[in-house]
């Protein structure tokens, strides 16, 4: 048998083996200490020697501690007097520098912008000329903006509506209370959420109710008008939907969830959103398909200025408007009580 080193038990290989066998961590120095103690146990220390050693160690520790305390006191003094002032100054200096840098960059950028409304601007190219000159005859929409966003660039608008829908889905996933899903109506969590929600406001505010009773029909009507006339006058699906959503929120605030739930529930939201988005995607797929392949399409621009004109634009406006309206309302109710 080969000779064993004296400190073999504490070298890395046996420690690794012990770790694998029994799970004693090699980084744990308790084991090493125990081994040291057993080794020291062999050299017999006299009582006085041990006491002397201990005393020396204690004195050293005391000295160390005193030095640390002195250093810390000095550091604290420095920090409270000079250091704080210095850090404050540095902070202010940096903040001002960053602000000035940003202001300078923005002003420099603004200085390079072409003059507003100038004929030679790079934005005045063949694209915008085409939109302005042929937009009305090609799309049938008097409101060129509607013709642009729902005909030339309908794909963009589909993406935007989907972004809204996905945002609503994310809010539902995050905020909808789990108890609301079993369909048993008002569960304890829902009631608690509603009570919590009512903490700051009176339940049936007379002024608010009278105002809402008067205003809500007009707001909804105005929203519908903006939506339906999106291809003729300024406005469109998004504005109309936002107005209708705001009107619904006003109604909900005035009359509470019970009355609002008579016409708007989770199912309503689901059906309207999905139906509107599917209609949008389907009808636009049809017009892309016929347009790209040069096929005959039954969608015609019609007479510009009529309510039933501009091909698909009014219907797409309505679809977008309903998606926006439902999303706004859903956001609000989900934020407030965790259910629609």
């Amino acid at each position: 048998m080969a000779r064993m080193r004296k400190d073999y038990e504490t070298s890395w290989w046996p420690r690794l083996r012990r770790w694998i066998d029994a799970g004693a961590s090699p980084l744990d120095d308790a084991l090493e200490k125990a081994l040291d103690e057993t080794r020291e146990g062999h050299q017999v220390l006299s009582q006085e020697e041990a006491a002397e050693r201990e005393e020396r160690a204690e004195a050293r520790q005391r000295l160390d501690r005193a030095r640390e305390a002195r250093m810390y006191a000095r550091f604290r003094e420095w920090r409270q007097q000079k250091g704080r002032r210095w850090a404050n100054m540095l902070y202010r200096l940096l903040a001002v520098t960053v602000c000035l840098a940003i202001i300078w960059v923005l002003l420099e950028t603004a200085a390079y912008l072409p003059p507003f409304g100038h004929a030679d601007n790079p934005a005045h190219n063949e694209v915008s000329r085409r939109y302005i000159e042929d937009g009305m005859t090609e799309t049938g929409a008097v409101n060129i903006v509607a013709g642009m966003i729902l005909d030339y660039r309908a794909f963009d608008t589909l993406g935007e509506s989907n972004v809204l829908f996905i945002a609503a889905c994310a809010v539902i996933i995050l905020l909808r209370l789990p108890d609301a899903r079993d369909g048993s109506g008002h569960t304890a969590a829902l009631l608690e959420a509603e009570a919590d929600d009512r903490m700051y406001e009176p339940k049936n505010d007379a002024i608010l109710q009278a105002t809402a009773r008067l205003l809500t029909p007009f707001i909804l009507m105005f929203g519908l008008y903006v939506m339906f006339y999106g291809h003729i006058s300024p406005g469109g699906g998004f504005s109309g939907g936002a107005i209708m959503g705001a009107g619904l929120i006003l109604y909900l605030n005035a009359f509470g969830f019970k009355k609002a739930e008579r016409f708007f529930t989770y199912t309503t939201f689901r059906v309207i959103s999905v139906a509107a988005l599917s209609f949008y995607a389907g009808s636009k797929a049809y017009s892309f398909f016929t347009g790209a392949n040069g096929l005959h399409s039954f969608i015609t621009p019609g007479t510009p200025g009529r309510i039933f004109s501009a091909g698909l634009i009014p219907y797409l406006n309505i679809a977008v408007g309903f998606v926006v309206c439902c999303t706004m309302y859903a956001f609000y109710t989900l934020f407030r009580k965790g259910d629609l």
Partner: protein, 94 residues
């Protein structure tokens, strides 16, 4: 007209600074609402009424409402200060 335009722009600028400087979150939301409203008037003066409608409905209406509800949810509206006044927070309208 030019003067009104200038006043509104200054108001928007002032509001934007005030929103950042205000300590109270509720106040800053209300200032934000005012800024949106002034902005929608500016949109009308720039001859884009559709943007004005959207700004009024989304900026002044729905966004601020969502912020209010969030404040309420995280209990950031300070009620303790107002509890001693008898009517409680209802007197403040929120």
């Amino acid at each position: 007209m030019q003067a009104l335009h200038l006043i509104l722009l200054l108001f928007v600028l002032l509001c934007a600074v005030a929103v950042a400087m205000t300590k109270d979150l509720l106040t800053s939301i209300i200032i934000f609402m005012g800024q949106s409203l002034a902005m929608s008037v500016i949109w009308i003066m720039l001859q884009s009424p559709d943007l004005a409608i959207t700004e009024a409905a989304v900026g002044a209406g729905v966004t601020s409402l969502l912020l209010f509800v969030t404040l309420k949810k995280i209990h950031a509206i300070d009620v303790k200060k107002k509890e001693g006044e008898g009517h409680g927070p209802d007197a403040e309208g929120l």
